[in-house]
């Protein structure tokens, strides 16, 4: 990394001051306000708001959604990254573009698509209602929409790691007789684990915080299909500010934990990468010679 020459004097102070003011105004202040508002009527009111049954149901649904969509994304993401980095096939670039689709489409539209597919009058509606399966305005819809919007997170991360590391170790494992499964569990997975961890953190954060797509498919049924972001909006709409901000504070705490984890994983990844590149610090000839010369 090259350090550009630091601006000097008044200009530097101006730039640093402006940046700090911006960060304070747009990032720190709103976050602080969340907690201030949550505790506006004291700790008692705060915990009372959290103890609310509907709030708990929203927290549980959010956790359930993340617990299902994140593992799905891990499995899909690792498979897709494997496919895209190890094989050349027709339509590869098309698949790469499609994977990014959830990033480029507005979440509301993503939600609408699922309503059109599974909702009343949708393509699969008659088949689903015949089987007595309800997706839209029910928990499965929330999970499907969340999985959709978090789709590219793990795949993108792992793909990057796999492409950076190449396939040499995999080829070596093959020549040593490893089966496909041994190759994956013993060589590839350890190589990409920090990429996977990073992807999990990102998709978990998005899964818990998703509003748009979930809002369209959930139907906002209290105690049933409300996730935390949806519940916050409802409470806020009802002028229950303490309740809204209490739930918001939980989500904010989650964000902070995510950031810390993310930092940690980045640090671990950087350390692993450093160890890789800067390794042969001492390609010491003397050491070599001593070893070689010591041969009988």
């Amino acid at each position: 990394m090259s350090h550009a020459q630091a601006p000097k004097g008044a200009l530097a102070k101006l730039l640093i001051g402006a940046s700090l003011a911006f960060v304070a105004l747009f990032l720190v202040l709103p976050l602080a306000l969340v907690f201030v508002s949550a505790f506006a009527e004291g700790a008692g009111a705060y915990f009372e708001a959290l103890a609310d049954e509907e709030t708990w149901s929203a927290v549980k649904l959010t956790l359930l959604t993340a617990a299902i969509s994140v593992p799905l994304n891990v499995v899909f993401g690792v498979c897709a990254a494997w496919l895209l980095s190890k094989y050349d096939f027709w339509g590869k670039s098309a698949l790469l573009t499609v994977i990014d689709l959830p990033f480029s489409v507005s979440p509301v539209i993503a939600g609408l698509v699922f309503v059109l597919l599974f909702g009343s009058g949708g393509w699969f509606y008659s088949a689903l209602s015949a089987a007595d399966v309800k997706i839209i305005f029910a928990v499965p819809g929330v999970i499907i929409a969340t999985t959709f919007v978090t789709f590219p997170m793990v795949a993108r991360e792992v793909l990057g790691v796999m492409e950076a590391q190449g396939s040499d170790e995999e080829e070596a494992a093959l020549t040593l007789g490893a089966s496909g499964w041994q190759l994956f569990t013993r060589v590839t997975l350890p190589k990409i684990r920090w990429g996977v961890a990073y992807g999990v953190i990102l998709s978990n954060a998005r899964a818990m915080g998703e509003f748009g797509a979930v809002s369209v498919v959930s139907g906002h049924i209290r105690g049933e299909t409300n996730t935390m972001p949806l519940h916050i909006e409802i409470l806020y709409g009802e002028y229950n500010f303490v309740g809204a901000f209490a739930v918001a504070s939980l989500l904010t705490l989650l964000a902070v934990v995510t950031l810390v984890l993310k930092q940690w994983v980045e640090w671990r990844t950087a350390r692993a990468a450093r160890g890789f590149e800067g390794a042969p610090a001492e390609d010491s000839l003397e050491g070599q010679r001593a070893l070689l010369g010591g041969a009988p």
Partner: protein, 353 residues
């Protein structure tokens, strides 16, 4: 375990970029010997090795080991050891686990693994390094671990892809000697890919010289060195210089020069080659040879490299020991006479009298 490659062809699509294919390549690597696949970059030698290993699938042709057709056998089942130029060690495993990998995936017991690994650590002289991670080793040490890992499952053939290419010269020369001793101990049939002609000549009993995806000439190092069948072989091995000439009645005549040499070749236009250390210089006031002038003289340790321009216009590179140069007493700019007694005619492939 002899390896036979029969008219193998592999083409890569236009988007494959720098990977070179091979077309219609056949050669045989004898048992217990080191066979070098040598050629400039882009000659397809690494592709050929990967085809033998099964890391690439040929479009046509066959790969046989000890008579058994392996062409359709998957990599894992071929039991060939492969050593990559960039080591390709498992970065997250210790040296021990790296070497044991090929044994453990085949279900060897912990005890068997430990015994074999310590045997190999001894062989590659890294007994004290078993617990290290690859990142904690030097380049030469990593390459020896890679070699031990490839040897651990007792492969039928050892395939080495530019094994010393990423190392600096001194380590490379030492590892080369070490590999020579190792091969004498293990006697594993070995295919060695290298672009370094010296490595090929020094290490192998058999050389396959490739050019643009085809075999240019194959044989013992001496055969290729002494009797190259093309100007390419002559200049690739030993840096021979090519001169065009005419043979008549057993005499090689080089145009515009009074020098001639006795050769065993039929009459006609020929290409002749002479290596820098086979050109003899004599003082300008002595008889024999063609008149010339030393244009440039560079001292490289105990050697001197001279660029000599013949009066007829041809430029020759000459190499001699520093002592010989001092005895001769020539410096840059001095007139000399050139004796091309060491010149030979290239016997063309398919040449008939």
């Amino acid at each position: 375990m002899s390896v036979r490659v029969e008219s193998i062809t592999k083409r890569f699509g236009a988007d494959a970029g720098r990977v070179t294919g091979v077309s219609g390549v056949s050669f045989e690597a004898p048992s217990h010997a080191i066979t070098s696949l040598v050629g400039p970059s882009g000659s397809g030698k690494s592709t050929l090795l990967r085809l033998v290993a099964g890391l690439e699938q040929p479009d046509q042709g066959r790969v046989l080991v000890e008579g058994e057709d392996l062409t359709r056998v998957p990599v894992q089942a071929r039991r060939l050891g492969f050593v990559f130029q960039n080591y390709a060690l498992f970065r997250h495993m210790s040296v021990f686990d790296n070497i044991a990998f090929g044994l453990s995936v085949r279900g060897a017991s912990r005890k068997e693994q430990a015994a074999r690994v310590s045997e190999l650590l001894e062989l590659v002289q890294l007994a004290d390094y078993a617990k290290r991670l690859p990142d904690q080793l030097s380049g030469g040490q990593r390459q020896r671990v890679a070699l031990a890992r490839a040897l651990a499952p007792r492969p039928r053939v050892l395939l080495l892809d530019e094994p010393f290419g990423a190392l600096d010269t001194q380590v490379r020369v030492e590892l080369r000697e070490w590999l020579h001793r190792l091969h004498e101990q293990t006697q594993v049939t070995t295919l060695l890919v290298t672009h370094d002609q010296e490595e090929a000549l020094e290490l192998s009993q058999h050389v396959v010289l490739l050019r643009e995806g085809q075999v240019e000439q194959a044989g013992t190092p001496t055969e290729l060195y002494e009797s190259p069948r093309s100007a390419f072989v002559a200049s690739f091995l030993g840096g021979a210089q090519i001169l065009k000439g005419q043979v008549s009645e057993g005499q090689l005549q080089l145009p515009g020069q009074e020098l001639s040499a006795d050769v065993d070749h039929a009459d006609g236009a020929v290409e002749a080659f002479v290596r820098p250390h086979d050109v003899r210089l004599v003082r300008a006031d002595e008889p024999g040879g063609a008149p010339a002038r030393v244009e440039r003289l560079i001292r490289v340790g105990g050697f001197v490299k001279l660029t000599v321009r013949l009066d007829s216009g041809e430029v020759l590179q000459v190499q001699m020991s520093r002592t010989a140069q001092l005895d001769l007493g020539v410096e840059a700019g001095d007139p000399v006479r050139v004796d091309l007694g060491g010149i030979r005619v290239i016997a063309r492939r398919g040449y008939s009298i």
